[in-house]
């Protein structure tokens, strides 16, 4: 087919396609708001996430009602809230809060300063400016409080810092791994590297390497022998059966060691990096990911520094997630490697590095971008899951998963009595959905078949 010779630049074309996908545009806008809120959490949250009053206690306070009509005059007024009075329900023994107009109205104010609760932006800029607030002793809980009386909305905004960045960071970790390993598997597929070199092929530097390699293999053979010997030495060695087992093990040890030596002396042991990496991917994929996550997490102690826990979670999520990407990247690289333009570059004498950087990696770009945006929501959910199980980030950090976990303390009644504790779930839902829409839109916009 004849191509259309419009001079519309590629990026413009992609943008135009993307704008047509209305859900994706909305997803992008919502994510922009969520990430801005997380980045400037101090500004957007009315209170410090860990601030609570001992007296009067405000535990499990429902969302504060904002009044727009002055009950005295019956006319519209500047929005205001009332202070609340706490009492204990005699039947359920749960706290109840009632509005107390006697303390007067507390008008909603914008750009307030809270000198008693300063915060920092990006750990550098100190500030105490907050978007909204009311004068103390009035309080405004947009989404209620937790059982300590901490403002849930502020905690959600701060929790977003963890939940939203963990998604991106884990995705970046898994993509770094996936791209690297998938790229190696694809590009070097069918070009096995030698794990050993027999003496007759030793020439110059390859001889030195060969000698080192041979020594290593000798060590491996010795190790196998040692293992077998250890087994025999440690076995109780009573009875015919036990002796027979010892004999078989010793024989296997000798056989194995001899086999290794025979192999490495006779022919080079070759390993295709493609086989090595792809079999590893398959093994990881065969283990249920939540189980793998939990067991990997169990390897590390639970009472470590919360910040380290954060990076640990990033690393773990990244580690279980790279396989799928590596597989696809390998596929793309394998097909691009055979494209005529790569052959042309080879015919021109271009080096492997140049071919990879100029011709192969760019070809994976659109897939990687789309895949990235579709993987992030999975990691956001993964973090929530881990935190929900108590294996993720810990106090004083907070995350949406952790908030949900504390929400379910108190059993089912907590949801019926205090439905506002489910707000973190809504944020998880919103962000995951938005990422998915964004990813869909990007996929449609970047799909090369659309422009063919």
């Amino acid at each position: 087919m004849e191509r259309l010779s419009s001079s519309t630049a590629r990026t413009q074309l992609v943008l135009r396609q993307f704008r047509k996908h209305r859900l994706a545009v909305w997803g992008g806008r919502i994510l922009l708001v969520l990430y801005l809120m997380a980045a400037f959490a101090g500004f957007f949250s009315p209170y410090d996430p860990n601030y609570y009053e001992l007296y009067p206690p405000k535990g499990n306070h429902p969302p504060t009602r904002i009044h727009f009509v002055d009950p005295e005059t019956g006319r519209l007024s500047r929005p205001f809230v009332y202070a609340t009075k706490r009492s204990i329900d005699p039947v359920t023994l749960q706290p109840r809060y009632e509005e107390d107009p006697s303390q007067g109205k507390f008008y909603l104010r914008f750009f307030v300063r809270t000198p008693d609760q300063p915060y920092t932006v990006f750990k550098v800029f100190r500030s105490d400016l907050r978007l909204i607030g009311v004068d103390p002793p009035g309080r405004i809980f947009l989404m209620g409080t937790d059982n300590f009386g901490r403002d849930l909305f502020s905690r959600i905004v701060y929790g977003g810092q963890v939940s939203l960045t963990i998604g991106i960071l884990s995705a970046l970790v898994s993509f770094a791994l996936g791209l690297l390993l998938g790229g190696i598997a694809g590009y070097f597929s069918g070009r096995p590297f030698a794990l050993s070199l027999p003496p007759r092929a030793w020439r110059g530097w390859s001889g030195v390497l060969g000698l080192v390699g041979l020594l290593l293999w000798l060590a491996v053979a010795a190790g196998v022998l040692f293992l077998a010997w250890s087994f025999v030495r440690l076995s109780p060695g009573k009875g015919v059966f036990s002796l027979a087992v010892d004999g078989v093990v010793l024989l296997l040890g000798f056989g194995g060691a001899l086999l290794i030596l025979w192999k490495v002396f006779r022919e080079p042991l070759k390993l295709d990096p493609d086989d090595l990496i792809m079999r590893t991917v398959e093994i990881i994929a065969a283990i249920p990911s939540l189980f793998l996550l939990i067991s990997l997490r169990a390897v590390f102690p639970t009472n470590i520094d919360p910040l380290i826990t954060f990076y640990l979670v990033v690393g773990l999520l990244g580690f279980i997630g790279w396989g799928g990407l590596a597989r696809v990247v390998r596929g793309i690289v394998l097909s691009v490697r055979e494209m005529d333009y790569v052959q042309a570059a080879r015919a021109l004498g271009a080096s492997d590095g140049r071919i990879i950087a100029r011709h192969i990696l760019p070809a994976t770009a659109s897939y990687v971008i789309v895949s990235l945006s579709l993987t992030i929501p999975g990691f956001i959910l993964g973090e929530s899951g881990l935190s929900f199980l108590g294996l993720g980030v810990t106090e004083p950090y907070t995350s949406w998963g952790l908030l949900l976990q504390s929400a379910q303390q108190g059993g089912f009644a907590s949801f019926t009595d205090r439905p506002w504790v489910l707000w973190p779930g809504f944020f998880i839902f919103l962000s995951v959905l938005s990422w998915n829409f964004l990813g869909d839109g990007l996929r449609d916009a970047l799909d090369p078949r659309r422009k063919a």
Binding site: M1, E2, L4, S5, S6
Partner: protein
């Protein structure tokens, strides 16, 4: 419609509505096919030849494409003339495969890889002729035998991937002819095949036409194949018919500069010994269907182009008086100069 006419396409217009604008893929095409004859439609990519054949079958992908005007008159097996562009989808399904059959360029992708060859041929037979599965299978074996596939009974149980490209195209032909259609549309049926296999398929189609008497609408870009197969030829360029004639006069005395250029740009094996000069290439590129040149779409590449004459209005498709048609304002001069 004349009694011997099988198909008459009148002023057919198929437009594709894309993001970049309206592509007039077929823009006022008229031609006819008589019973039992072979009409070749020749053109390059973007000429609209394949879209025309798909429009006759009402297989234009909608959206973005749509038949926006014209008629496709077809005489059914019952003798009634119908306008295919006005039939309901259900009526059209009865025509497809039964009255008009089609074979495509890619024998690899036009067969379903998960069914046996026998199943696929029998399905068409059962659908249109209401035969039992057993009868249909017998007929399918007969059809495979007819298209020259050895051991047809055994081959029925084969899957498409177990056959070569040439074999698959034979199966496609068997399937297309199984309901005894009066018109076979062949869209570049040999383009994906090697020359020796192409020769086999062309021989087969000629033989089958003699035996079964169907008309063939042969879509191709290969002038050699046209010379071999066609009774009459329609040459298309940029969505329009530029010339229509019987095969011998067309090759001997092409009237349209495009037809002439096309004939002279291909190297000929049979004249190899005498000639060794440069090929007469047509300069320029096949035009972008979104931005067709004004007037005669061929004028930027034409050596007979006259400013102010060729680039104003689309020239009409004129009858030359001897059963030929040509769309060029200067055809009389061109003919005289050559004579």
């Amino acid at each position: 419609m004349d009694e011997k006419r099988l198909l008459e396409v009148r002023d057919l217009k198929v437009h594709f509505f894309t993001d970049d604008g309206v592509v007039k893929a077929v823009d006022g095409v008229s031609f006819h096919v008589d019973k039992g004859e072979t009409l070749a439609v020749v053109g390059e990519s973007g000429s609209g030849k394949s879209v025309t054949s798909l429009a006759i079958m009402r297989l234009i992908p909608t959206p973005p494409g749509r038949i926006v005007g014209g008629q496709v008159l077809f005489r059914g097996k019952d003798g009634q003339v119908k306008d295919l562009t006005r039939l309901s989808e259900a009526e059209m399904r009865r025509i497809r495969g039964n009255d008009i059959a089609m074979i495509f360029q890619e024998p690899m992708t036009s067969l379903n890889p998960v069914y046996t060859v026998g199943d696929q041929i029998a399905e068409a037979i059962m659908l249109h002729q209401g035969k039992s599965r057993k009868e249909a299978m017998e007929l399918a074996a007969h059809m495979l035998d007819l298209v020259g596939i050895p051991e047809p009974k055994k081959r029925l149980a084969n899957y498409p991937h177990q056959m070569s490209g040439g074999m698959r195209q034979r199966v496609m032909i068997a399937m297309a002819l199984s309901c005894n259609p009066s018109l076979l549309i062949a869209d570049e049926p040999t383009t994906a095949l090697d020359v020796t296999i192409q020769a086999q398929i062309l021989e087969l189609m000629k033989r089958l036409q003699e035996e079964l008497g169907m008309a063939i609408l042969f879509i191709t870009h290969n002038l050699g194949v046209v010379a071999e197969m066609a009774d009459r030829v329609v040459v298309m360029y940029a969505g329009r018919v530029v010339e229509q004639a019987d095969v011998v006069p067309l090759f001997k005395d092409p009237l349209h500069p495009y037809t002439r250029g096309l004939l002279h740009s291909v190297p000929r094996l049979d004249l190899a010994a005498e000639r060794r000069e440069r090929l007469e290439a047509i300069p320029g590129n096949v035009p972008n269907p979104l931005y067709l040149p004004p007037g005669c779409a061929f004028h930027p590449r034409c050596k007979h182009y006259v400013e102010g004459l060729c680039d104003r209005e689309v020239p009409p498709l004129e009858d030359t008086g001897d059963g030929r048609q040509v769309r060029c304002v200067r055809w009389r001069e061109i003919r005289e100069v050559r004579a």
